[in-house]
Amino acid sequence: MISAYYFGAIALILIGLYAVLVKKNLLKILVGLSIMETGVNLLLISIGYVSGKSAPILSEGITPSQAVDPIPQALVLTAIVIGVATTAMALSVAIILYEKYGTLNIEEIRRLRG
């Protein structure tokens, strides 16, 4: 079977996907999207793990053959910051929708249409 870290990351992705598909409040959908992003970052880092090695900071006494993979960590560092930027922009769109339509229910907004 797969390792526990893979199982945890896949579970987070599926829970976030459930919130995006089923829920009707716009802020709850954005909570699910943010949980999905955390799950994807966890999956990327757990692929680059080598058991028995230590962190990729080559200070005194750590040779280059004793370090974990540094490239997925560089990718995830970028992805976390971009995640918070897109969440902030989506929330400001939600604020404007509430001021214009008076509700945050996606079915009502789809029927009103300006």
């Binding site: 802020l27 949980i35 604020i95 945050l104």
Partner: protein, 94 residues
């Protein structure tokens, strides 16, 4: 029972439970607190996977700033998710 490696399973279990509760609660403020808890448990797991830069970044940005921005958005809209259950006849509105 003495399993030192069991702490990883405990934290993964707590993270999944916290994610399920964050999606199910009706109070939107409690849902944001659940999302912040998921981010903090993921930061601890990043430390166990020998990635200190990513753990620091996730704790500072994912937990503190993402939660704060959500709470400001809740302040300018409303707090309690109303009774918005689906009505019968979903196929007519597709």
């Amino acid at each position: 029972m003495n399993c030192v490696a069991c702490i990883e399973y405990v934290i993964i279990g707590l993270m999944i439970v916290s994610a399920i509760l964050a999606v199910e609660w009706r109070d939107l403020l409690a849902a944001v607190v659940g999302m912040t808890a998921v981010s903090l448990f993921a930061s601890i797991l990043f430390f166990f996977l020998q990635a200190p830069d990513v753990a620091m970044t996730e704790a500072a940005i994912g937990a503190a700033l993402s939660g704060a921005v959500f709470i400001f958005a809740i302040k300018r809209t409303y707090r309690y998710e109303t009774e918005e259950e689906e009505k019968p006849g979903w196929w007519m509105r597709w």
